[in-house]
């Protein structure tokens, strides 16, 4: 009888652990998402260009003629001029 009870208890315990971990994962996803949005807002308030992405450290960015760089520089210029 006790063996049977133990066997029944295993899936229930597994389900409980899964449910707890699922809720923790959802909470982590929610918190991470919220933190990301807050950080983005803060950077926007500080006037950071969001268009720069991975190319912002590129050595040829200042003279680059690629469309993304042209667009980014025009955005930066507009921000600098206070438009």
């Amino acid at each position: 009888m006790s063996g049977l009870l133990r066997r029944v208890g295993v899936p229930a315990r597994r389900r409980f652990i899964q449910q707890t971990l699922r809720n923790i994962s959802l909470a982590v996803l929610g918190l991470a998402g919220g933190a990301t949005v807050l950080k983005r807002r803060r950077l926007l308030r500080e006037g950071k260009c969001l268009n720069l992405g991975i190319c912002r450290n590129c050595a040829v960015f200042a003279d680059c003629g690629l469309p993304r760089a042209l667009s980014t520089r025009s955005v930066l210029a507009r921000r600098r001029d206070g438009e």
Binding site: L50, I54, N57, C64
Partner: protein, 437 residues
């Protein structure tokens, strides 16, 4: 026969970008220092409107909702396939395969490690939404929404079975790739996962020859091995498969009780069907216990060995960073060890920065790679040890079931399950009965 003809035509159509890339390579790419003057235009090209990105996010959510319904409720392979093709056409060919959750891993990593980087909201949403859906409904993103998965699914003609031990071993590649992608994004060298995306060249009908060949090779393997990139390389798949273990609802092969006909086992091209287990044979239980104890002892050794190996690779890893490569080149040029200059060294000199600053940056990046390499190696050791432990633990199963982690929710097993066929027939009869009345 028709299916093979369709697959052959699709594969031939995918050869177009290879030809395009070949013709592009015949002409040299523009150089920044050739003195070429860009034509005056009334207005510089603008970035893609942000509203399109929000539309993409909304579409992804709709596709995932629809996929949840089709996979878990309607249980129709045909409908899942149709949705998968639609996702391939929109997120793949129409949107050029960008942005995708797989690449978004790097945006998320960079936003965590770089205080000045603001992640595009679409990238964050593309990363989070499929994960949230996975926690509720399993890997429905892989089954019906991922364009990379879809392009491989379409070419699958004759799936061969990959032994479980080999599949487990090959999956280590995906963990390593995820770790490397995160490492490089965190240190700011490059977006490795986007750079080596094997199918983006097909979506854009152009690209680097090497990557197109890699993609074509994966598709060629994919004719006989179901979705090789998804199973053995996809870094986002690693996260999804682990979250999928916690999912609230998941794919169930049979709608009612299993009659152990084994048809689903033959139908699954991804080896995701787990068979019922028998009790341990006499004496084997003790051997398994000893093996498990051995692997538990081995785990910290594997982590330490992996960490040491990763640390030893620090120089090679750091050399993949463009700043370090430029520093090395400039050093060689300044000390007269090489003659001539490169585009990178010329570009650096154009900025007017001091070489000492460049060397300082390179040293800092090297030390970051030393730590990062050790962590990456330790992570790979941990995963390898975990795999060995998982292989030596036996779960009790009374019937055939889809492995929550390995199942890509393609719905093929539904077609083969006699109980599912019975359910459909009953539903059809009920419908026709209602129609006659």
């Amino acid at each position: 026969m028709t299916r093979i003809a369709c697959t052959a035509m699709f594969t031939l159509a995918l050869a177009v970008p290879c030809l395009g890339a070949g013709s592009e390579m015949r002409f040299p790419p523009p150089e920044f220092e050739s003195g070429y003057q860009f034509p005056e235009t009334a207005r510089p090209p603008t970035a893609r409107p942000v509203v399109h990105e929000y539309i993409d996010v909304a579409l992804l959510a709709v596709v995932l909702l629809l996929a949840s319904y089709l996979i878990l409720q309607r249980r129709s392979r045909r409908a899942i396939f149709a949705l998968m093709i639609a996702a391939l056409l929109y997120f793949g060919f129409w949107r050029d395969g960008c942005i995708c959750p797989i690449g978004a891993i790097q945006n998320v990593t960079l936003t965590a490690f770089d205080s000045t980087y603001a992640i595009p909201l679409a990238a964050a949403a593309f990363f989070v939404i499929p994960l949230a859906f996975t926690l509720f409904h399993g890997r429905i993103f892989c089954g019906a929404a991922c364009p990379l998965g879809a392009i491989q699914d379409v070419v699958l003609i004759h799936p061969l079975r990959v032994p479980h031990w080999l599949e487990s071993g090959l999956r280590l590649l995906a963990y390593t790739y995820l770790g490397a992608g995160v490492l490089f994004a965190a240190i700011g060298g490059t977006f490795l996962i986007c750079r080596y995306d094997p199918f983006v060249g097909f979506f854009r009908m152009t690209g680097n020859w090497n990557i197109l060949i890699l993609g074509a090779s994966l598709l060629a393997i994919g004719l006989f091995v179901g979705r090789p990139y998804c199973r053995f390389l996809c870094p986002y798949g690693v996260i999804l498969r682990n979250l999928s273990r916690l999912s609230k609802r998941r794919v169930t092969i049979t709608p009612t009780e299993c009659i152990t006909c084994r048809l689903c086992e033959d139908a699954c091209p991804f080896g995701a069907i787990r068979t019922p287990t028998e009790d341990w044979p006499e004496g084997e239980y003790q051997i398994a216990k000893r093996r498990l104890a051995f692997f538990l002892v081995l785990l910290p050794i594997l982590i330490a060995a992996g960490g040491w190996g990763g640390y030893a690779l620090k120089e090679r890893l750091a050399r993949m960073h463009p700043r370090v490569r430029t520093a090395e080149r400039v050093f060689l040029e300044e000390t007269g060890q090489v003659t001539g200059t490169t585009n990178a060294s010329d570009a650096f000199r154009t900025t007017g920065q001091a070489s000492a600053m460049l060397y300082q940056d390179a040293t800092a990046i090297r030390s970051r790679f030393a730590l990062g390499g050790a962590l990456l190696g330790g992570f790979v050791g941990l995963v390898a040890g975990g795999k060995l432990i998982a292989l030596s633990v036996r779960r009790r199963r009374a019937e055939y079931e889809a492995d929550p982690a390995d199942c890509l929710a393609c719905g093929r097993c539904y077609q083969y399950c006699p109980k599912e066929q019975e359910r459909r027939k009953q539903r059809r009869d009920a419908r026709s009965g209602r129609g006659n009345r």
